[in-house]
Amino acid sequence: MPPLPIPEHPPVAWYLILSAILFGLGVAGFLFRRNIITVFMSIELMLNAVNLSFIAFSYQLKQVSGHIFTFFVMVVAAAEAAVGLAIILTIYKNKSTLEVDEINSLNN
């Protein structure tokens, strides 16, 4: 295994690539997990990848507006979590299951 590159400060590209991988993990989890709660957690991974990108770009551009966007994304994530988990509770009350594949009563 080649030695790890060790610059003085990690370049911005590293953060961006990390964020892209994290986003990919979120998308992967969303697409192939069956449990709704885990699917929802995958969305949180995606949002964190977005936040990481915002901060990295903000650092690169020497602005703080990226921090503000991240702040708003977090607030929205909190609101979504509240509503999403309430919806998950109603699904569980009505169907007694949280398997994505089994929630398919709507079709032709």
Binding site: V27, F30, F69, K95
Partner: protein, 488 residues
């Protein structure tokens, strides 16, 4: 740091519709808590009054167009047109919901409040000139809509609809935000005008790949919201499972607002790279029309059929987006207004016919409607003809202007394929007409619930409006062309 950050009176005037709706929504919930149960019918009147006041405020705000709040918002003709449209849709949706809610025994207080909040979100979506504001508006509208889709908590279909809407909506938000993050990183701003200036004035050949990727990510997010292919899969389940009046609302108001922000972002901010995104929108428009129309052919459930029809109509509007010309924007505005009217009217008939617990949702349940309820049947005929695009209806001129704009923009193949698609669409709409007038009623005769006055008003009002803009299209087209002004 600016000396004073208090907004001026002028800015507050431009922001008046949203302020009114927010205050009304909050006030409604307070009233809901303190009012005696027998007086709760007045809540609806209050919600309607607030919407009417907001409508007036939106019109008045255009007397003094311009930006507000550090250019985060921009009140231009385009914003005003869509503000009026989404508030108008909400008025019709409120009128069309009360009978349904009473029939299902649902508490209407929160319903009206959530509709008002959703309209605040939509109104922000269409007035925002900044990606973060667009995102926040979109989320307000979406969160209220998720709850509305699952409003009858004990109905499994409602919960399923809300869940699918929520999961896929949040997934789309993730893509949209990732695109916003990259645009911010590449241009250093999220202000649409500044993004445009940056893309137009700087040598971007170096970072073209990344700009393209950012546009594509944002396109994915928007395509989800307007239910354009290949991201339309949520729409049939959500519209089928949601309460009928909610499905009517979701497929008219939020959809028009989503198209408005789509148009604003792509036609102002990304105009300098239009030759890059045009092929994507072109392909998506074509696939959306084909998927919507051909899947609708196989449906037996009326609500699901309307959902696929709504996908197909999103495809026609995508054709208008692909032109990215002023003519195309006008055509999209005309089309979205005409479609909203027709769609709300058709869903008003469905809302009445499905019966308590939504038991009669199959096409065969419409058999003999012409004899049973001549008025509903006649109105539904007008709406279906408009959805097909038969002359003398609003739908005809909607399609006409879109394909005219497409021809002007040299999108010949898209026009030809789009016209072929409308011919396919005629089949499944006409099938409903045949069932309605030619077939004997089955065992669903028991379902002859009287249509309430409010629902009748929605029905007749939208039918008349559909015919009027079909006969005198210049009434609406003049407005659209005068208001198709995107402030920069």
């Amino acid at each position: 740091m600016p000396a004073s950050f208090m907004p001026s009176a002028q800015e507050m005037m431009r922001f008046l519709p949203e302020t009114l709706l927010t205050l009304a929504g909050v006030f409604l919930m307070v009233l809901e808590a303190i009012m005696a149960p027998e007086n709760k019918g007045r809540l609806k009147a209050f919600a309607l009054f607030a919407l009417a006041a907001a409508l007036a405020a939106a019109v008045i705000a255009y007397n003094d167009p311009g930006p507000a709040f550090n250019r985060l918002l921009i009140i231009d003709g385009f914003a005003t047109f869509f503000r009026v449209l989404v508030i108008g849709v909400a008025i019709l949706a409120v009128l069309g919901s009360s009978q349904y809610l009473a029939r299902e025994g649902a508490n209407p207080g929160e319903y009206w409040a959530l509709v008002l909040f959703s309209v605040v979100g939509q109104s922000l979506m269409v007035t925002s000139n900044e990606l973060i504001m667009i995102f926040i508006g979109l989320e307000i509208s979406s969160i209220a809509s998720y709850v509305l889709a699952g409003y009858l908590r004990d109905d499994a279909r409602n919960s399923e609809s809300a869940l699918k809407y929520f999961l896929l909506g949040s997934f789309a938000t993730g893509f949209l935000l990732y695109g916003v993050a990259w645009i911010y990183g590449l241009t250093g701003t999220t202000d649409l005008s500044q993004i445009r200036a940056d893309l137009a004035n700087r040598d971007i050949s170096n970072s073209m790949m990344m700009i393209g990727a950012a546009c594509a990510l944002m396109f994915v997010g928007f395509a989800f919201k307007v239910s354009a292919a290949p991201f339309q899969v949520w729409a049939p389940d959500v519209y089928q499972g949601a309460p009928s009046p909610v499905a009517a609302f979701l497929s008219s108001g939020p959809k028009a607002a989503a198209f408005a922000m789509f148009l604003r972002v792509f036609v102002t901010a990304f105009e300098p790279v239009a030759d890059r995104w045009e092929p994507i929108v072109w392909a998506s428009a074509l696939v959306t029309m084909i998927v919507g129309n051909f899947a609708a052919l196989r449906q037996t459930n009326v609500k699901r059929l309307m959902a696929y029809s709504s996908i197909a109509h999103a495809g026609y509007v995508m054709v208008a987006v692909a032109t990215h010309s002023k003519l195309g924007i006008e055509a999209a505005m005309f089309y979205l207004a005409a479609y909203a009217l027709t769609n709300l009217g058709a869903f008003a008939v469905i809302t009445c016919l499905v019966g308590k617990g939504e038991r009669f949702v199959e096409i065969k349940d419409l058999a003999g409607l012409g004899a049973r309820q001549p008025l509903s049947a006649a109105m539904l005929t007008i709406f279906l003809l408009s959805l097909i695009g038969v002359p003398l209806t609003g739908g005809f001129f909607g399609k006409f202007y879109i394909f005219k704009a497409a021809l002007d923009a040299r999108l010949i193949w898209l026009t030809v394929l789009g016209l072929l698609n409308s011919a396919v669409a005629a089949y499944y709409y006409l099938r409903i007409l045949v069932v309605m007038y030619m077939e004997e009623p089955g065992d669903t005769v028991e379902n002859t619930q009287e249509m309430g006055g409010a629902l009748k008003f929605v029905l007749v009002g939208s039918a008349v409006a559909t015919l009027v803009i079909g006969t005198f299209p210049s009434l609406l087209l003049d407005v659209a062309s005068r208001y198709a002004v995107l402030g920069r």
